[in-house]
């Protein structure tokens, strides 16, 4: 199912620094799709994927609810329908690897290892949130788990991720950077500038285009002259490939292979995952622009439901086991909401605490009605 778009194809593992134009043999292929064949993942791993995907589903449902209850403000973009992509990608990273995402990042924060309560508390704008209530839905950050930011400006995270990879290269570390972005973002200049720089300087960064086929309400075909987005890598002599984003094992296989290749060689790559958005662009978007066909396709491909069925068909889980995971996920999401709701709001006295990291003379600390002198 995976398609590839360059002459040089990363093999799994890797033998030292290989220049990107070298011809190497293909990595292992993984059978994915309709036939429920798993390729080597242990039952525990598969169950854990299901657990994480279900947690994201339940968490996002509670986030939507919190938004309609006005507990959550601002914009709120959900990962509903992208759970397989999120979990497949995050399972390919070490905790010490770095992740940069766009604004649709709650699921990534959970799957990178941040406690659900802290993620929900950020949505609630509380001090116990990932960004102490300063960021909100679009701007989560956690040094310990390697989430180096969700970013609200389309494309803004791409040069930053490239720079983080530059720092790894500068210091000789073995971390890899993953930079998540949406399909619409492949048309912004920062994407092209950064892919060029990453390829030129051989930086260990995996750019992941999460193609949910809609940039807000604009289809990929309407916004991208080359609608097979993974082929954009060719222009930078970078490896690119596309994978079924509804298939968690396929996503994980591709992402793990590219991440480990980058770790071994420093070579960047572009991975495109294709999935669907189950809901609107954000919580408040009723998606009136969307055809019934598109909605039906998204529902039919629901990655959580299809993965659940595969696990049961293949004997990895039984109905009771699946129900128990779902019960626990609901309990975890509910506990996250309770934690958030019980957490304190930031005190107004902290308003000027984070303008500058190095204190500076004459830094303004006036409130709107205060006189200048």
């Amino acid at each position: 199912m995976a398609e590839t778009a360059t002459r040089s194809k990363p093999a799994s593992g890797g033998a030292g620094k290989t220049r990107r134009n070298g011809t190497r043999s293909s990595g292992k292929r993984v059978q994915t799709g309709a036939n429920n064949v798993f390729s080597g993942e242990s039952p525990d791993t598969l169950r854990d994927y299901f657990r994480q995907m279900t947690l994201i589903r339940r968490f996002e449902e509670r986030a939507a609810q919190g938004y309609t209850q006005a507990k959550i403000g601002g914009y709120c973009h959900l990962n509903l329908g992208e759970e397989a992509t999120v979990v497949g990608l995050m399972s390919a990273l070490r905790r010490s690897d770095y992740l940069f995402t766009n604004y649709r990042e709650h699921g990534y924060a959970l799957a990178k290892g941040i406690e659900p309560g802290r993620v929900m508390a950020e949505l609630y704008g509380r001090t116990s949130g990932t960004s102490k209530g300063w960021g909100g839905s679009m701007h989560m950050f956690d040094v310990d788990s390697g989430l180096l930011g969700g970013y609200g400006i389309v494309g803004g995270q791409i040069p930053l991720a490239t720079g983080a990879a530059l720092a790894i290269d500068y210091r000789g570390g073995d971390q890899v950077v993953m930079c998540q972005l949406g399909d619409g973002t492949t048309n912004i200049g920062a994407f092209h500038e950064s892919l060029n720089i990453a390829a030129l300087w051989n930086l260990p960064v995996i750019f992941v285009v999460v193609n949910n086929q809609l940039g807000m309400g604009t289809t990929v075909e309407k916004s991208s002259a080359e609608s097979e987005l993974y082929k954009r890598a060719v222009a930078y002599r970078m490896h690119g490939e596309r994978v079924d984003g509804n298939d968690v094992t396929a996503v994980n296989e591709a992402a793990s292979r590219l991440v480990e290749h980058a770790r071994a060689t420093g070579e960047p790559a572009l991975l495109e995952t294709v999935s669907h958005r189950l809901k609107g662009h954000s919580v408040v978007d009723p998606s009136k622009y969307r055809s019934q066909e598109s909605v039906d396709a998204a529902r039919a491909a629901d990655p959580v439901a299809t993965f659940r069925a595969r696990l049961i068909d293949s004997g990895v889980l039984d109905e009771d086991g699946a129900a128990e995971i779902e019960r626990q996920a609901q309990a975890d999401a509910d506990a996250a909401v309770a934690f958030a709701d019980d957490s304190p709001h930031p005190d107004v006295s902290t308003l000027f605490d984070y303008t500058y990291a190095t204190p500076v003379a004459n830094d303004s600390r006036r409130l709107p009605a205060d006189p200048v002198f």
Partner: protein
């Protein structure tokens, strides 16, 4: 004391900071093999190698953003933007990212980077290559903006900027690179956010920064020599934060002020200074605060037009004379 150019002061400081700290590296267009458009980085590629003097593609958003990302990892990139005009291409990374990352994530990650860039007109470079748009950055909380006018200040402020854990826009000026000044053997880092009374006086306060601070000194010296007028010069040095106390204190003493700025008048840096004087020295003012600023046109190429549009010693002198006349201290 050694007398060196502003360019040499910048070059020497970059070199010294790179020798002192492995985490300091340079990144920008044409800074290595070409040695910098204005030769600030001459010789540094040979001395430090490609890892620490990194030539970039023509991709301001890409390389400034990469510098921000590297700074988030604790490196100390000093990026060179060939001129401030080209910084507009990187505006998203400077304003929406470098300036926001520390606050937006609740103080978890600082961005210790410097963006060096020259502004300034007067070189017949036309409308797009002659702008003074430091205001765009001075407007933004989260950024620090410094604008040294002398070689000694260039050194002291660049040292401070590199040591600082926040993103600093370090404003240079095309007309200052060849100017000379005394620089002590050892220069301590300056305190960002502090203006300097660089020339004490009693009759009038002239407030400037970057090139216009040097013009203010020329004018003040001439007024003293030829007319016995004692002008005090306040060199802002830092545009964000703005040291209102120092400039207001000067105006409380002299009771009148002229602001000298290379940028456009309307909404410009001088407007903020004038408002600050109104806030802090209203009762001391004997005349309206006067601003000498660039004519509000896209700067033309032709020399007579360009000359007419830009502030100069002559235009500043006129404004000082008229202000002193208004307060009755000059015939």
């Amino acid at each position: 004391m050694a007398v060196i150019t502003y360019r040499q002061a910048l070059h020497d400081t970059l070199r010294e900071e790179m020798l002192a700290d492995e985490d300091v590296f340079l990144i920008g267009e044409e800074i290595g093999v070409f040695e910098g458009s204005y030769k600030i980085t001459a010789g540094l590629l040979d001395e430090f190698g490609e890892k620490r003097v990194r030539d970039t593609p023509i991709a301001e958003e890409g390389f400034i953003g990469a510098a921000v990302g590297a700074a988030m990892q604790g490196l100390r990139p000093v990026a060179e933007l060939m001129t401030i005009n080209f910084s507009l291409i990187a505006l998203d990374q400077i304003v929406n990212h470098a300036a926001k990352i520390y606050g937006m994530f609740g103080g978890q990650c600082s961005v210790p980077m410097v963006m060096r860039t020259p502004g300034g007109g007067g070189q017949q470079l036309g409308a797009t290559h002659s702008q003074n748009i430091e205001l765009y950055y001075a407007f933004v909380p989260g950024l620090k903006v410094v604008a040294p006018s002398t070689p000694a200040d260039a050194k002291a402020l660049l040292r401070a900027s590199i040591a600082d854990n926040d993103p600093v826009l370090f404003l240079e000026n095309l007309a200052l690179y060849n100017t000379k000044g005394e620089v002590p053997e050892t220069v301590e880092p300056a305190e960002i956010g502090k203006a300097a009374v660089s020339r004490p006086g009693n009759d009038i306060t002239i407030i400037g920064y970057s090139r216009m601070a040097t013009v203010a000194h020329q004018v003040a010296d001439k007024l003293e020599d030829e007319e016995g007028i004692s002008a005090e010069v306040v060199d802002l040095r830092s545009l964000r934060p703005l040291d209102r106390e120092t400039l207001v204190e000067s105006v409380r003493k002299t009771n009148c002020a002229v602001i000298a700025e290379d940028d456009w008048l309307t909404y410009g840096i001088g407007a903020e200074i004038a408002a600050s004087i109104s806030d802090g020295a209203f009762d001391s003012l004997d005349a309206p605060v006067r601003r000498v600023a660039a004519a509000e046109v896209p700067l033309p190429y032709a020399k007579p037009l360009e000359r007419a549009a830009l502030p100069s010693a002559e235009s500043l002198t006129t404004a000082v004379h008229e202000t002193l006349e208004a307060v009755g201290r000059r015939r």
